[in-house]
Symmetry: C2
Subunit: 89 residues, 2 copies
């Protein structure tokens, strides 16, 4: 029961970055998204993974590994989509 | 040591939404931010709070209470800043 809540919580917070990735991919625009959101969040989820390893909590480890990956993708998109107009000009 | 890592992790992932709030407040623009990011994330952090309560983990409870609040603020901004141009037109 408790781990089911944890898995549901992890699934929601982690997969919440997917629609943002899809939106960014479609619009090729990340101007309104703060780079600090992704960079701080990804650094934090790496620390959450370390915390999860110490606590031997697979839900925390798995959720934050995925969230780290998603945020690195978004940070990459932020950099790439900003660089594109500069090349055109 | 373990809880210090947890507190640092919590501080980073939670406060990562602050620069997004500041940016949105300054630009009054949330067009590139997916509403699903905040709505799914906030639902997830509420479940994380429940998980934290079951696990009696104050770091998880505190971090997710704050993250929920920040994401509700961002979701509100998303709605308000989208509504504004419609009023002008």
């Amino acid at each position: 029961m408790i781990s089911m809540i944890g898995v549901a919580a992890a699934a929601l917070t982690t997969s919440s970055f997917l629609p943002q990735i899809v939106r960014a991919y479609r619009t090729k625009s990340m101007g309104d998204v703060s780079r600090y959101l992704m960079s701080m969040f990804a650094t934090g989820t790496v620390l959450w993974m370390v915390y999860g390893i110490f606590k031997e909590d697979l839900v925390i480890i798995g959720a934050n590994a995925t969230a780290t990956a998603f945020n690195i993708i978004l940070l990459y998109m932020k950099v790439v989509y900003k660089a594109k107009p500069a090349k055109v000009a």
